[in-house]
Symmetry: C2
Subunit: 120 residues, 2 copies
């Protein structure tokens, strides 16, 4: 096999691996989305509750992020017609497929912090 053919094959293989990662990043990238999911995983469900559980997030950002997470079918917004109306956010079943990703990210983050502190 020629060198250029070799490179072509390599690049095709690369693409095959990169495409899904791009798809995934489209959905969960950004400073806040995963943190919001974690908050929901921890049992928070009301807007202000979630807001308070995430340091330095603002209403505006939270509101926007919740909307796009809903569009991506990761969370559900439910309006309960109690008096007064109660609004609750919850994870969908689909969101549970993300648990492994979040978990691995957490584990890696913990070790990374350890590494940084060790080295100074």
């Amino acid at each position: 096999m020629s060198k250029t053919e070799d490179e072509k094959n390599n690049h095709e293989e690369c693409q095959k691996l990169m495409l899904p990662v791009r798809d995934a990043l489209d959905v969960i990238s950004g400073k806040w989305k995963i943190l919001i999911l974690i908050s929901l995983m921890q049992g928070n469900s009301r807007f202000r509750e979630i807001e308070r559980s995430i340091p330095r997030i603002t209403s505006k950002v939270l509101s926007n992020e919740l909307k796009t997470l809903e569009e991506h079918k990761l969370i559900k917004r439910t309006v309960y017609d109690d008096y007064p109306v109660r609004i609750e956010y919850s994870l969908t079943e689909y969101a549970s497929t993300l648990e492994k990703v979040v978990n691995e990210l957490q584990i890696w983050g913990i070790n990374h912090r350890k590494k940084i502190l060790e080295e100074g």
Copy 2:
């Protein structure tokens, strides 16, 4: 336990989970970093080779991302004093700790794409 106390505990627990994720995101967030790591995992090592393997990346962006990946100890830049000088990038051992994260992201991305296509 009072309700506010309960919330306080919940928030502390949240923080404990969110902090490492933030740390991780600091290192690997952005449109290109993981793709670059994948390219290296696939055996690419020269600047132009990596550049060609990642569709639509530009020299400038690649150059910057390689620098920050090096700062974070995920890759190594080696200058071989051949004639002409050859420069190679490679993954560090530390980078291998990220493999699980990348893998889970890939798996999730594949399923997500499937889901989207099914639903239209």
